[in-house]
């Protein structure tokens, strides 16, 4: 039994995947001169921020055995809220707090409905997907919400192409990733999330307050989605109620590529972040190769299937 080797491979799996896609675009002559530059990586990192922050919340939800399909709509909704508040002259800090709170409120509704009505998360969040999107368009009067200027606009800019300073969004994502990893691995809350996803009956038997926990998980994750909405606003410099359609699928894909199981109980922040990066690198590289977007979509689809299939082989088949 080569168990230690197997375990090492299991740890490194997503890293190897990331390395492979980076190599893929570093070798061809068309992309070699630019792809591996610091500036390009700064762009890739900045492009990853929104999916990465979403994936942090989604990791908590998927590890708990749930799913959230309303993320794209939540991001649009919270970015519209943010834009409206800037229009009304709110300070940046207040706008940040308000968007996070708005996202958290959607999550709270999701969690309360899932735990209270005992309807599967898929159905509830499919419902809130529509509700949040419609509300965003309603609030925005079905058009983009523009404002004059705000410091928030700078948080996703890679202004100086040769400077080493990363935009604020990247730092926020990095710090949050570290904090979420600690939350999941080292806190009672995090361990209860794993217990809930691994076996809800056991969690209940062991006195884990499963109903309250579910509400809390969706609410906290919703806060992350609200923050992702804020960076969406920062990137577009306007509140767009039609933005981020289908983004939840990218976010779910990042978490799954990172090794989480849709059955719950398995997953981690590091994997999800690498999953988000793999997709961003694929998009960035494909653009530089001049591949059309439909080709990128096909590739990402294949990568999702391959990642889960390889994961299955790596884990072996438990019986």
């Amino acid at each position: 039994m080569a168990t230690p080797l197997k375990r090492l491979l299991a740890r490194l799996g997503p890293f190897l995947g990331l390395l492979a896609v980076i190599l893929l675009f570093s070798l061809p002559a068309e992309t070699r001169p630019y792809f591996l530059t610091f500036h390009n990586f700064k762009i890739i990192l900045t492009q990853t921020v929104i999916v990465a922050i979403g994936a942090l919340g989604m990791t908590m939800i998927i590890v708990s055995g749930g799913i959230d399909l309303s993320v794209g709509s939540s991001i649009a909704f919270t970015s519209v809220i943010g834009a409206l508040l800037i229009q009304h002259g709110w300070a940046a800090a207040a706008v940040v707090a308000a968007t996070i709170a708005a996202g958290g409120a959607i999550g709270l509704v999701n969690g309360a409905a899932i735990a209270g009505l005992r309807v599967t998360p898929f159905i509830i969040t499919l419902g809130t997907l529509g509700i949040a999107r419609g509300s965003a368009k309603w609030l925005a009067d079905n058009q983009t919400v523009n404002y004059d200027a705000s410091p928030i606009n700078r948080w996703m800019m890679t202004a100086n192409p040769f400077g080493y300073a990363l935009p604020a969004g990247v730092w926020v994502a990095l710090v949050l990733a570290g904090a979420t990893a600690v939350l999941l691995r080292r806190t009672v809350f995090g361990r209860h999330i794993f217990a809930l996803g691994s076996n809800e009956a056991t969690a209940r038997l062991c006195g884990v307050p499963t109903t309250r926990l579910k509400v809390l998980i969706y609410a906290v994750a919703g806060g992350f989605f609200g923050l992702a909405g804020l960076f969406q606003l920062s990137r577009l410099r306007q509140g767009d109620p039609t933005v981020a359609v289908g983004l939840e699928l990218d976010i779910i894909a990042a978490v799954i590529i990172g090794g989480a199981s849709l059955n719950g109980g398995v997953g981690g922040v590091l994997g999800s972040m690498i999953g988000a990066l793999i997709m961003a690198v694929l998009r960035n590289g494909s653009q530089q190769m001049g591949w059309p977007t439909y080709f990128q979509e096909i590739i990402i689809g294949l990568v999702i299937i391959a990642a889960v299939f390889l994961d299955r082989i790596r884990q072996g088949r438990p019986d």
Binding site: T187, V188, R191, N199, G207
Partner: protein, 494 residues
């Protein structure tokens, strides 16, 4: 030689010998009761008859021809149909669709509606239930009617042998009576019926002949008429209790748990009992008698419909499993895989899940302290594993059970509710678990054990209560019980 005939059937799984020497002869038009304790080999025999396993040795013939089914479907084709205790219906499909499932009347892939209807109707008529609405979804029927639907499905294959496994365990008396009518009807049509039930009274009223299995062997067979139930019970049990149970006399202390007139779910029907510190109280009874319902209700996993559970010396409040743990109760589930353990998670997390907050400060959990705690129990209980980080699912059944028990010890609980603590584990692990339970009582803990294995209860407990159909029939000191007496009360005797 017509009918089903089994001679000298043997079957082992690894080192475990499930069937040592089983013989069974069932004539056409006969209802034959198959009787035996849990673990006597009935289910293995059924799996061999239905083709799920092949026998290691022995011969099986059906109407004189060799019978060697390759699987349940093949068994059915050869004329042996089985109705399991847990029914197998597609609840969203209609009664008719369920009856015809897999044997639809069709022409070129199109369902022939008229022929389908006639066949379903005639199968039900054969059972005397022609009035069952064919277009209602199976989920809309009561259990008794669902059972009829399933038997009707079996009849479409024109079975020569029909096996009913504990068919009345979820039925009311009246429904059971109607089922006996169906069984007699089939007998009169020449079908051999093998009837498996723990309810001996029932066996006597419906069966013509019986066979008793004990420890994987046929120990007796004969006509039902003229055989007393006492004789059958003696044949089923009558085994020496070995020194597996190192129990010293206990000194029961003050009451720690009081249950008053508890009712819950469809089964539990008003049970009162008292558990004392330093005592081991056993609950005997048949599967479905309400023992599990009782302990689950006590632990607040199921809601009480009426009655009261009082934990002495503990703050009251809304009953939840969380509060029960806080009050010093611990619960071991009978269902290790589905409920008892997180199979994919490490041993350490499984052992410490009830008290994570104790392994660090400010909501943080120290993984190394969790592992250290688990390591202590791994040593104390001799749990065979790689390390505390190994997923529990990788361990053997006996070791998994020790991990589940370690959770209660680590908490530490003072009142232990153990539901089938030795189910499906090897003899060595059983002996260890008996020793731990004995030590707990000696240390003043209170233990309530639900078990279907009578020698274990008789060897381990200070007092034993017998449950039957949701009620506690009697609680007496161990010395006042014999296996025969327990079986008599458990099977509905007064």
């Amino acid at each position: 030689m017509s009918g089903l005939r089994l001679v000298g059937i043997r079957k082992s799984f690894g080192a475990t010998r499930a069937l040592a020497n089983v013989s069974l002869a069932v004539a056409p038009g006969e209802v034959h009761a198959l009787i035996g304790e849990n673990g006597a080999g009935k289910s293995t025999l059924m799996k061999i008859l239905s083709g799920a396993h092949g026998p290691d040795a022995g011969t099986m013939t059906l109407d004189g021809a060799p019978y060697a089914p390759e699987g349940p479907h093949d068994a059915r084709r050869k004329g042996v149909a089985m109705i399991y205790q847990e029914l197998n219906l597609a609840l969203h499909l209609t009664a008719q669709e369920n009856i015809l499932l897999g044997m639809e009347s069709a022409r070129g892939g199109w369902i022939d509606r008229r022929a389908s209807r006639e066949r379903a109707r005639s199968a039900l008529a054969q059972l005397g239930h022609a009035d069952l609405p064919l277009d209602r979804a199976a989920g809309g029927f009561a259990i008794a009617e669902q059972q009829i639907i399933e038997i009707a499905r079996a009849l479409l294959g024109r079975p020569r042998v029909l096996i009913l496994d504990e068919p009345t365990s979820s039925l009311t008396q009246a429904d059971a009576g109607r089922l006996f009518g169906v069984v007699r009807r089939l007998r009169d049509q020449g079908v051999s019926v093998i009837y498996i039930s723990h309810f001996l009274e029932e066996c006597r009223s419906v069966a013509d002949r019986f066979t008793v299995l004990k420890d994987g062997e046929t120990v007796a067979d004969g006509p039902m008429a003229g055989t007393g139930l006492d004789r059958i019970v003696t044949l089923m049990t009558g085994r020496a209790v070995t020194d597996l149970y190192p129990r010293t006399a206990s000194r029961p202390g003050a009451p720690v748990l009081e249950v008053t007139a508890a009712r819950a779910g469809p089964r539990l029907d008003g049970v009162s009992l008292q558990l004392r510190a330093g005592e081991i109280l056993g609950l005997a009874g048949l599967i479905g008698a309400g023992r599990t319902d009782l302990v689950r209700a006590v632990f607040a996993l199921d809601e009480l419909a009426a009655g009261e559970v009082c934990v002495v010396d503990a703050t009251a409040g809304r009953a939840t499993p969380r509060r029960r743990w806080a009050q010093g109760l611990g619960f071991l589930s009978e269902n290790r895989k589905e409920e008892g353990l997180m199979l994919g998670q490490p041993i350490a997390d499984n052992v410490t899940l009830t008290k994570l907050g104790a392994f660090g400060r400010l909501g943080l959990v120290s993984g190394s302290r969790q592992r250290a705690a688990a390591q202590r129990w791994i040593s104390t209980l001799a749990i065979k594993c790689r390390d505390p980080g190994q997923p529990v699912g990788h361990l053997s059944g006996g070791n998994q059970q020790k991990v589940a028990l370690a959770r209660l010890l680590e908490h530490p609980a003072r009142i232990f509710l153990l539901d089938e603590p030795t189910r499906g584990i090897d003899v060595g692990s059983k002996a260890q678990i008996y020793r731990i339970i004995g030590e707990l009582a000696a240390a003043g803990k209170a233990v309530l054990i639900v078990s279907s294995y009578l020698p274990e209860l008789l060897g381990l407990c200070d007092r034993i209560g017998v449950m039957c159909r949701g009620r506690l029939a009697a609680v007496r000191p161990r010395g006042d019980w014999t296996e025969e007496e327990i079986m008599r009360l458990a099977t509905g005797g007064a």
